[in-house]
Amino acid sequence: MRDLGLYCTLMGKVLSVPDRWREFFKRTINEIYKLGIDSIPLVIIISVFIGAVITIQMQLNITSPLLPAYAVGLTTREIILLEFSSSILCLILAGKVGSNIASEIGTMRVTEQIDALDIMGVNSANFLILPKVIGFLLIIPVLVILSMGTSIMGGYAIAYFTDMISVSKFTYGLQAFFNPWYVWYSLIKGLVFSVIITSTSSFFGYYVKGGALEVGKASTRAVVNSSILILFFDVILTKLLLQ
């Protein structure tokens, strides 16, 4: 409960008007690059391989005379849109982005850089955290859409390069019974999860006390707690948005 109170207090400070808008925009662009653009290679690699694996798994497990051949493409698409490109991708990004944020802010805390900002009269929470929250919020839809596209390409590659499933049936499955709302559902989840990752990780970094060891522990706690919150909100959002 104490942590929740501290988190709410911190968010109160974060969600205030920036001291200098120009500096805020500059830092937000920088965070978009650092947290988002730098994550693109990881997103592409993971998405392509998981897309390929999902297709193989579907082919091996749901092939049945009772099911049409295009079911492999259809289920692959649904898994990617509904769960992988939002929830699983954000769980992976919680590891990369979350630990990055917690260790960066935590190091600034233990080396008195945050105290230096406070002494100068700068709202350190707003100055350091808000650009990360907004920057990641702006770039996450790009990462989610990119993940959807590359995952499907991974699945398509399996159909194209192997004889497990024909390309035409896989492509037909990808297009069959398409519900555009699933894309929006995935994007909404991505937006919520991006705020969870950046704010939770910033919280654990901002309140670090001690030295390098505590920064490492804060980084671990940031990733663990972000992941748990992502899973928790995944259940709530799924219930709210798909029922």
């Binding site: 001291d19 200098r20 500096e23 080396t111 008195e112 850089q113 105290d115 230096a116 406070d118 002494i119 100068m120 009269g121 700068v122």
Partner: protein, 261 residues
């Protein structure tokens, strides 16, 4: 002038500052000295507002920070420069970026004016030509000087230095002391230095506040220390043979004169 009146601060039920009252004068290098755990850092952090005392008043030229609203406190902070023990430079910024930072956040200067002011401050601390380097590329002494340049960029009225000589060799420590003393007199600032360094105490201490186990034990100048009969103070300042020798020499010199009467 900064006035501390009856300040009490505790952590987890343990009182760190016991009813401390003292004054820090404008245009003078004011030193807070004392053993580790004596409450020096807590006193300094209380004055700058990083720690909130439970009781007492802290007046910056008559303005009580304890009763100030958040807006006035924020305005006051623009008049404060601080040099941290570990320099606290922003790793991701160049030396020039670090010194320009307070100007970017709080001044209405143009980019060219801010750059000129930052370069002037760097020149003042003898760091001309280091503006494009990053903090990690500098020695400890150079980092301290960059931090001083950043602290004076906005022409502060009050300068706080937390152990400015820690981790520096004796020669660099003296340079930093001389620089802080010169800047204090040049800009007529109220400078408060928290230190363990006896060279600083005896070299630049114009108003020294000695804390012992959270209590204010003694106030005076560096010259007064030689003549003091306060055992806790003399045991702390003249702990080494070198400084005992310095004291004996000073006392021998002053015998016959009126300085210790």
């Amino acid at each position: 002038m900064i006035e501390v009146q009856n300040v009490i601060k505790s952590f987890d039920g343990k009182t760190i500052l016991h009813d401390v009252s003292c004054k820090f004068y404008t245009g003078k290098t004011n030193l807070i000295i004392g053993q580790s755990g004596s409450g020096k850092t807590v006193l300094m952090k209380s004055i700058v507002g990083l720690v909130n005392p439970e009781h007492g008043h802290i007046l910056f030229d008559g303005r009580d920070v304890m009763t100030m609203d958040a807006r006035s406190r924020k305005e006051l902070r623009k008049e404060i420069g601080m040099l941290f023990q570990g320099s606290a430079l922003f790793d991701s910024e160049t030396v020039l970026g670090n010194v320009m930072f307070p100007l970017v956040m709080f001044s209405d200067m143009t980019q060219a004016e801010m750059r000129d002011r930052a370069l002037f401050c760097l020149e003042r601390v003898n760091l001309k030509g280091a503006d494009r380097k990053y903090p990690a590329e500098l020695s400890g002494g150079m980092q301290k000087r960059v931090a001083i340049a950043r602290a004076i960029a906005l022409n502060p009225k009050y300068l706080f230095c937390d152990e400015p000589n820690s981790g520096l060799d004796p020669r660099t420590s003296i340079l930093i002391d001389e620089l802080l003393s010169d800047i204090t007199h040049e800009y007529n600032m109220t400078t408060i230095i928290n230190t363990h360094d006896m060279n600083s105490v005896l070299g630049i201490g114009e108003n020294i506040v000695f804390l012992n186990k959270g209590h204010l034990e003694w106030i005076g100048t560096s010259n007064d220390i030689y003549c003091s009969d306060n055992k806790a103070l003399t045991d702390f300042v003249f702990a080494t043979r070198l400084f005992q020798g310095v004291r004996e020499y000073k006392l021998a010199q002053s015998s016959g004169s009126s300085s210790c009467k």
